[in-house]
């Protein structure tokens, strides 16, 4: 019995350890871009456009009159309107098993979401963060607006 518990604990620890979201892993790609869109990665600000890859830990920023649309590898669709800052905090998706996890943060601006395969298969492993709340999804499309100056 005790052995079994240890086994379960180790499996759980392994799961937490192996878990997702190493910076640098590709999470998705920009499919739509209008106006000034940039990606902040490892302290550098890179101009971004249609075809740019989006990686875990990237901060995607839009300027005035700008907007951006991103398709993540699990078919989640994201888009942000003008003056937005979106952070891909965590993303992992296994093609073969279709297991995965994701965590996306909106610091300011607007974000719309059409959730993908991870949310369908394991909704509990998907969350969206605003400056003051955490959103869980159940097979969903929704929009978020954050007014304020949450820049960092």
């Amino acid at each position: 019995m005790i052995k079994a518990h240890w086994g379960a604990l180790c499996a759980l620890l392994a799961l937490i350890w192996a878990s997702p979201g190493l910076a640098g892993e590709v999470a998705g790609m920009i499919k739509v871009a209008k106006g000034a869109v940039s990606i902040e990665r490892a302290g550098k600000k890179l101009p971004a456009g249609v075809g740019s890859e989006v990686e875990v830990a990237d901060r995607v920023r839009t300027g005035q009159d700008a907007s951006v649309g991103i398709t993540l590898r699990d078919n989640t669709l994201l888009s942000a309107g003008p003056h937005s800052l979106i952070v891909i905090e965590k993303f992992a998706f296994d093609n073969t098993t279709q297991d995965g996890a994701m965590s996306i943060r909106i610091r300011k601006g607007t974000l719309s979401v059409a959730s993908g395969k991870i949310a369908k298969r394991t909704p509990a492993s998907v969350d969206f963060h605003t400056p003051t709340s955490v959103l869980g999804v159940r097979g969903t499309e929704f929009v978020i607006e954050v007014d304020g100056d949450g820049d960092e």
């Binding site: 790609m29 920009i30 499919k31 739509v32 871009a33 209008k34 249609v50 075809g51 907007s67 951006v68 649309g69 991103i70 398709t71 078919n75 669709l77 994201l78 888009s79 942000a80 309107g81 003008p82 937005s84 093609n95 073969t96 607007t110 974000l111 719309s112 059409a114 605003t130 400056p131 003051t132 709340s133 955490v134 959103l135 869980g136 999804v137 159940r138 097979g139 969903t140 499309e141 929704f142 929009v143 978020i144 607006e145 954050v146 007014d147 304020g148 100056d149 949450g150």
Partner: protein, 194 residues
């Protein structure tokens, strides 16, 4: 975990004063029931009807009913930037091998066109088998099928870096069957274009 909770609480207290937020659930594209659960230090609010909305200011949640008009006004630009929805095609195989049925050969043309027309398209080719043969054999066969379709696409001019091939073996049948059943609908390759 405690640290995370604590920083969440502190962050919430700090930010609640200066930010206001709005969250609105939209009707789902497939018409199915969906929901968003909004959690904060005070508890949770469930949005489970189309256009159910909540505004948050100074740590107070105000539930309200939004509308297509309001969403359009506040989020029109944002929603217009949503990428085109991924589409999925299914190709079928003759028994046992990796030769496409004639209908599926013909469908390839449509798929190529879509890959060419979508901005920054990416394609996942996913192979599946029926339940004839062992799990291991079917894992191999499903990957071979996916790779053969990927190669067909490459030969027809689709850039190889847009394509990835995946084998899911017999674990995801379109038509559930007992083991060792020869089910043509399960011998397939799915092409997901995003």
């Amino acid at each position: 975990m405690n640290k995370v909770t604590l920083s969440l609480v502190i962050g919430t207290l700090l930010l609640a004063g200066c930010a206001s937020e709005r969250i609105v659930l939209l009707p789902s594209a497939d018409g199915r029931q969906s929901a968003v659960v909004v959690r904060d230090a005070a508890g949770e609010t469930v949005l489970d009807q189309p256009y159910a909305g909540v505004t948050r200011r100074l740590g107070t949640n105000t539930a309200y009913r939004s509308s297509a008009d309001e969403v359009n006004e506040r989020f029109g630009t944002t929603l217009a930037a949503l990428p085109p929805r991924p589409t999925s095609y299914v190709l079928y195989f003759e028994v046992g091998g990796n030769v496409l049925t004639p209908e599926s050969q013909a469908a390839l043309a449509t798929i190529r066109k879509e890959i060419a027309e979508r901005p920054a398209s990416e394609v996942r080719v996913i192979g599946h088998t029926d339940r004839v043969g062992s799990v291991e054999t079917n894992d191999r066969l499903s990957l071979q099928r996916a790779e053969s379709v990927r190669d067909l696409l490459v030969e027809s001019g689709v850039p190889a870096n847009k394509l990835e091939a995946v084998g899911r073996g017999e674990r995801d049948p379109l038509v559930p069957t007992a083991d060792e059943v020869d089910e043509p609908k399960n011998r397939r390759v799915e092409i997901s274009v995003r």
